[in-house]
Amino acid sequence: MSETITFTIDGVKVQGAGGQTILQAAQDAGVYIPRLCAKEELSPFGSCRVCTVLVDGRPQTACTYPIAEDMIVESDSEQVAAIRRDIIDMLFVEGNHYCMFCETSGDCELQALAYRFGITAPKFPYMFPKREIDMSHPEIFIDRDRCILCARCVRASRDLDEKAVFQFVGRGPDKRIAVNAESRLVDTNIDVTDEAISICPVGALIRKKGSYAVPYGQRKYDHEPIGSDIEKARKAE
């Protein structure tokens, strides 16, 4: 059995197991910390930064930072919310997000976070980058306009599907998601049932068939903010 560690989130004492990250321990305690690149079944990656918390006063990513005895974590404060809002704003302006016709709209984790933070418009100017769409595969497509470079697909394809279909190429503003073949999705061994597709938090990896099946008003985040399930678990206790 791993040792029990006691630390503080927003002034409340919380217990976690040694080796847990702040994000995991907080979630077990019913405290939702926003996240995009983190996913239970994947190894931590620490790229999106929306899970930023203050650990003993310093900004850290909750999804990669291990808990420690007597650590003081600040998550639910205006200062932390401002950092997270800025990151969400940047993710929107760095891509081209046409939510009104996006297959994932209503179920998208990026959009849901923006809703949760009450963002009516990003505060930065839109960059309108030029991004390529890969329609080559008969059943799946990559819409890079919507990709937030979270690497969930990279990790899921490698660790869950055991295929390594995806990888990043380029640096800085030119960084983009690519496939492990000459360059087209159809040339890979990806399968329409692969975990790597459903695990994309946004609408960058889409199955061509069955889109828009769920009507407006019945989608995942139409009525309740993302993270409500975790927070409800705490309230029920």
Partner: protein
């Protein structure tokens, strides 16, 4: 005291946001009690007749006429609200922002699969508004005070915003009123 005035315009949009304004249904009767409509497609007034409390902007700037309209709204309205995705982000019209203007013209007037244009003319009459190099979201052109996202924003969101702004209450949108689709 006379009623406050509101003005509305549709620039590079689809008029869907104006449809959503009309979608407030019978509450439009309450609205008429609260305000007087000035320059707006609803009144068909082409020019401002006086200072307006609120200006609602649908659509982004695609041409020089849109820019002038937006500047006039800023001059004549105390509060400007960007209504809908196009006004806020450019949205669907902004899909051309990555395509050189000449290519857009070629597709629209010369090469498009349904184009019939035997003289191969691309319209350039001075009467036609001059198209801009790209779509400009409203807040890149003038200061915008409030943003009401949605494609279109729901009638409830528009109603909540209008009643708050016209009665001097803080504008608070519930979770279900902020939608991007």
């Amino acid at each position: 005291m006379s009623k406050p005035k509101i003005a509305t315009t549709s620039m590079c949009g689809c008029f869907g946001c104006h449809m959503s304004i009309l979608d407030i249904d019978e509450r439009i009767l309450d609205l008429v009690e609260l305000v007087e409509f000035d320059k707006s497609p609803i009144t068909d007034l082409k020019e401002f007749t006086g200072r307006c409390a609120v200006g609602l902007i649908e659509g982004s700037c695609a041409n020089d006429e849109n820019v002038r309209t937006l500047q006039k709204f800023r001059e004549n309205c105390d509060v400007l609200v960007a209504v809908g995705g196009c006004a806020i982000t450019g949205d669907i019209p902004a899909m051309r922002n990555n395509i050189p203007l000449q290519e857009c013209f070629n597709e629209a007037y010369l090469d498009g699969p349904t184009v019939y244009n035997p003289d191969k003319l691309i319209p350039s009459d001075p009467e036609i508004p001059l198209i801009l190099d790209r779509i400009y979201p409203c807040d890149e052109v003038v200061k915008i005070d409030y943003f009401l996202p949605g494609c279109p924003p729901s009638a409830d969101a528009i109603w909540a915003a209008l009643t708050a702004l016209l009665t001097g209450q803080p504008l608070e949108l519930s979770y279900e009123m902020i939608k991007y689709d």
